[in-house]
Symmetry: C2
């Protein structure tokens, strides 16, 4: 349990020690082989399975505190582990072990006219700090993806999962202890002291990237206090645009999936834009279906005229809203340009989808909308690292530097230039 | 000359106006076609050629001020334009026009098991702020690369090139005026007020990336004051490591090229590490050659024993030094690991090269050294966007987020996910 750091009175020293240990571990990890990292991931998966009883006992303590603290049922559900969920956690780690390896991969080799051989080699970023809330599986998911990409990671979870994260961290450490990689490759900070987090966010010499995952408040706090680059997304105000050439049955199905299948996630649909030319057919059909499903509709004036009493009036706030609930905003737009302008103004650079049978219009939407994931005739719910083929996801970025959109192991790496010469000098 | 902003008393308003105008222009630019951008670059090149007289007259004013202000001869040389240099500036813009296009490029297409077609589309970053010193050609080089990549750019040069930059900016604006792209795609901030720069660095809503180019002081200032991500390198402490299996004649030639060919640039060699096993043969040969060339050698104890009076004693500061002058630090190391440890401790993540005839050792060096450019048997002077095949270079990054190493047009772009479905919903 060496890697579960109990902080003392001096958070600043504690943070610097954690960060420095991570940097040292990252240097060893950067020199490790694929076989070593793969073996370490399987060892971690085995250690999680072996620690099932301890993990469930720790989780029970968190659940007890949650019940006393009056945590919402949704939060309790995210926190709860079971033998099946622990097995799932271990299986997820093993699945990351089996993803294709990235570190050391040679890309874009070319020979220059002077005979120099130039290529790029994929390398780890170094040290990652994850700051997250609630779901304890993030502890092992993030540890696995960071190890896969050759990075050391510092994991700082929320107070509600304090004991669960500590038990999972102990399992990871036990797994690493069975390998020749340093245990400090993964450090679970078993303290929820805010001061320690602030001090970690100042360790820009030894930490290369911060990834906060949680509510908008947490992410704003991290972005404002960090001296280290932060990969983040504040919210997902995802749009579905029903174009005049849309298959309207498909549009209703995709709207329903986007809003209802799992309303509490960031890739759920929050606003539906409807082309004026098909509004008189689409809006009533949508209202009928969504009313039957218990979804509240808030519409602009034109939507209200077509939807009648099923539609409450939308305010300016509704166009900015990430409801994460069975509520949807609906607006009738004049045309394609009007829809794109609405997305430019209110969108969050997360995910937007157009429903259209006109392929040229679909391509124009893909080109002109600058969000991190743009779709034609598909549910926004597919905006997820697993669904997009990344194997696993460590987070989503809605700013364009480094990574944009769902981010997997590759987002935790970069490339360096490598050059082979034969005594080449520059003239 | 609308895009040459003269600031008034309110720098904050002026900065916000510049940044907002750039954002608006970037939205138009993101929707532009390859043909439009290529045409615009050729129009800018033509406008620079047409404005030769105005540019040279403006440059003469800067040179006059430089003479009065006592600018160093090296700085004056970097500032000076001539008819040939103006032609070169225009030719560089035209060369960027002819580079392969990036924006809209589809990468990594795949079909998922459920039939969804996933790909990435390369897109511009948005708005770039360049802050630079001295060389006026940066004005047009940066404008060209940003336009190529579909970005709007705000250019803030130094006071010593005030008139030159303004004249070059006017030519760029004249070139853009002959196209259907907004003139605000390129804004030359013809003010060297520091307060305006500070205000620009706070415009994180409308500016996506800051690239400072200049002395270490400027770069530290920008990094400390910016709320926008900064791509930077502080300095280039580049190492040449002479391995025990090196061809020693090659090693002397590459050392000479790295140190002498152009000592004032960031990819010049600053420290030479010599394997103990060959030090008794290499150090005297190096001393003889470098003394003949007038290069000062500062060495550790073992180097001084072998080099005699040609070697001055090196202090701890010498291992950190970017001399940018005909001075070199030399250290005898025990072995490969000792050399790599020295680079880890003192390096600046810029460029390191090993001289060795042992291919396996060369590969190990490429793998284990985490600097942004790593070489075998080649001069560090090749660490340059043009030499590495990027076509042109907008800057060098020695931190690993987004871009690492020399950065060309591609570093000014990112990718978004694009998804083609057929009414796909998630179950």
């Amino acid at each position: 349990m060496r890697s579960c750091i109990e902080t003392t009175s001096s958070s600043s020293d504690a943070a610097a020690d954690i960060a420095r240990a991570a940097r040292r571990a990252s240097l060893a990890l950067a020199k490790s082989t694929t076989a070593q990292r793969t073996q370490a991931l399987h060892a971690v998966a085995a250690a999680v399975r072996a620690a099932e009883a301890e993990i469930l006992a720790a989780n029970a303590r968190d659940l007890e505190a949650a019940a006393e603290g009056g945590l919402s049922p949704a939060m309790v559900d995210r926190l709860r582990l079971s033998p099946e969920r622990v097995a799932g956690v271990a299986a997820a780690v093993a699945a990351v072990a089996d993803l294709p390896d990235l570190v050391g991969r040679i890309e874009r080799e070319e020979v220059r006219p002077n005979g120099l051989r130039i290529a790029r080699m994929r390398i780890p970023l170094g040290v990652v700090l994850m700051i997250y809330e609630s779901r304890p599986n993030v502890t092992t998911d993030a540890a696995a993806l960071c190890l896969k990409a050759g990075n050391a990671v510092i994991l700082r979870g929320g107070s509600e999962a304090f004991h669960s994260n500590r038990a999972l961290g102990a399992a990871v450490t036990a797994g690493l202890a069975a390998t020749d990689l340093p245990e400090q490759c993964v450090q679970v900070v078993a303290s929820t002291e805010r001061e320690l987090m602030n001090q970690l966010l100042a360790c820009d010499e030894d930490i290369d990237l911060v990834i906060p995952r949680g509510g908008e408040g947490l992410i704003h706090f991290v972005a404002e206090h960090s001296r280290i680059p932060v990969l983040k997304h504040y919210k997902g105000v995802c749009h579905l645009y029903v174009h005049e050439a849309a298959d309207l049955d498909m549009a209703v199905r995709v709207a329903e999936n986007g809003k209802v299948q799992r309303p509490g996630v960031c890739n759920a649909v929050e606003t539906i834009l409807v082309d004026r030319a098909v509004a008189d057919r689409f809006v009533p059909a949508l209202c009928q279906r969504f009313s039957a499903l218990g979804v509240e509709i808030r519409g602009d004036e034109r939507t209200r005229v077509l939807g009648g009493e099923a539609v409450a009036p939308a305010s300016e706030d509704d166009w900015h809203a990430e409801y994460l609930a069975p509520i949807v905003a609906v607006r009738v737009v004049d045309d394609f340009d009007d829809a794109v302008a609405h997305i430019e103004r209110y969108g969050s650079n997360h995910t937007e989808s157009i429903i259209t049978a006109d392929a040229a219009v679909g391509e124009r939407f893909l080109r002109e909308v600058q969000s991190s994931t743009v779709m034609v005739n598909a549910s926004t719910r597919f905006a997820d690292g697993g669904q997009l083929g990344l194997g696993a996801e460590i987070g989503i970025s809605t700013t364009k530097l480094h990574a944009y959109g769902p981010m997997g192991a590759e987002g935790l790496t970069t490339t360096k230039f490598i050059v082979h010469g034969d005594g080449h000098v520059r003239t």
